[in-house]
Symmetry: C2
Subunit: 353 residues, 2 copies
Amino acid sequence: MTDPKSNAVPVVPRVEPDRSLLPQIQIEDVRRAATCLQEHAHRTPVITSRTLDDRVGAEVFVKCENFQRVGAFKFRGAYNALAQLEPEVGVLTYSSGNHAQAVALAAAELGRQAVIVMPNNAPAIKRQATSHYLARAKTGSRVVLYDPSTTVRETLGHEIAAHEGLVVIPPYDHPHVIAGQGTAALELFAETGSLDFLLVPCGGGGLLSGSAVTAASVAPGCQVMGVEPKCADDATRSFETGHLHRVYQPPTIADGARTPSLGKYTFAVITEHVAAMHTVSETEIARATLFAWERLKLVVEPSGALGLAGLFKLAQSHILDDQRIGIIISGGNMDPSLVGAIVTRAEASTTDE
Amino acid sequence: MTDPKSNAVPVVPRVEPDRSLLPQIQIEDVRRAATCLQEHAHRTPVITSRTLDDRVGAEVFVKCENFQRVGAFKFRGAYNALAQLEPEVGVLTYSSGNHAQAVALAAAELGRQAVIVMPNNAPAIKRQATSHYLARAKTGSRVVLYDPSTTVRETLGHEIAAHEGLVVIPPYDHPHVIAGQGTAALELFAETGSLDFLLVPCGGGGLLSGSAVTAASVAPGCQVMGVEPKCADDATRSFETGHLHRVYQPPTIADGARTPSLGKYTFAVITEHVAAMHTVSETEIARATLFAWERLKLVVEPSGALGLAGLFKLAQSHILDDQRIGIIISGGNMDPSLVGAIVTRAEASTTDE
């Protein structure tokens, strides 16, 4: 049964993972993406912290995709996808933020037209950055805002794309996007060797899928685990029940994880290669975000701190003791004017467990 | 003449730089400090940013001492100074924050007693961290708070030290402290080779002095420039007039630069080795702090952003065009609850020039 408080609604009809899609996202695709991204994406640093290690009783390696171009891992997948298209082809995407910026910058660098469909409640910092990048892209590039309470972004996006002859590059459910995202974990394992666990934020599942495909080949002993907000637990429910669940506008501070559901590719890959899914409360997300600012000196957005929040939660049960653990900080596009709200949430005397 | 708006008061009697002190701080001392700090201090990363380079029209290398232990360069000088003392010797220091944390952690690691004299208006984040580290130091370690409007910290500190037989480790005016601070620039030049300019925050002048001694030997073509708040411009006035100036409780958001004046060692070294001093307004400091947050994804405290603020200011006059420039981000101990005030200040429609 579905808990009404979770905002989760099982989809009708029942959708099960389609294993026939798996051959489309292999380690060779991730390696090709890594070659494509050389000279274009940053090879982001992996940092360690004695404070963090002492707190969780493990050896932790933090892959800092907040330092990636556009401030999030999304540039990897977007650039890889756009680079595969024929010259002169324009693109369209829909995104609440970081993927929008990523497609905008990739289009600017590759000289393509890009139309970006964004919800009118997307963070201002992400809207502004998207427009900034589009100013350098080809004529016809623009942001189209929509009201998420009345409009289905996929429907609007496909209408515009059909009318203008644009190729849709969805934010996560696309083999080239997933392969691009997998390059972050590829770089991490190249630096750390194998790990016991890898904790990855999960919204639509692109980063988690890419990481899991990569780990399965280059670090097969590593258990890849996804972390998502408790009030946006569609991926956890989908993973655990074996059929796709959705959420409707979940009220999480992790705006990158407000995606309604996994996609057909990400659901298949996650079912095949991910070891476990975990959820964290809003308070736990806020506390992890604040820990990153105060102790790691990293600007991390709440979605980006999901892996760190999962680390703190799992550390309480001691299953991570003395293990070698990777976490991916997925992004740092945090509006500074919202910092006060995060501090307030983190300092809440009771959690929203 | 002294501008009354600047909070600067020329000291009476007139103090001129004492060049006889210079032999006490040589490059060999910095190199010895580097050896002492191996395995104890972090070798902090040097980051680059296309966004930053594009904005200032130069090639910029950012030495990130916000990632240093205790969140600031201060650990270098404090550890180096404490490591030189005989075993069993306890220490005392007075500091508005980062040096306090640094001495506390160094004392904990070296098994010494430490008494830290702090103003009662020091940022909460710095007070808490200092107490946290002291919990691991030797018995008798503690924080002593004082009211900066009624008490001279040096007087109070020396009284307690004399009574308890403690060695005073001042926050900047000490050869071992200055030599330790110089190791940050030593690491920077080792990574980048020579540079045209190096911009360094200046409070009491410890980091600036250490950087200048280092540059004079390992990168003699590099012009080292200090940057301080306009409303706390004692070092600039001292540098330009050739005699020591003081400020009284300057109202700058850069709390690490509220020091009353240079010291006898730092005044001598800065006069000898620094090429120029620059001042920046409170709005410029806030904007640089916010740039670090939003675009570099680095948590930087306002004092830590002084070099970046100086970079933006100097870039306007194009003297930095196409040059290779180092800046040191000196610290990241920023209370997140104060970010809102920084945003407000940065967005001020007029500057406080």
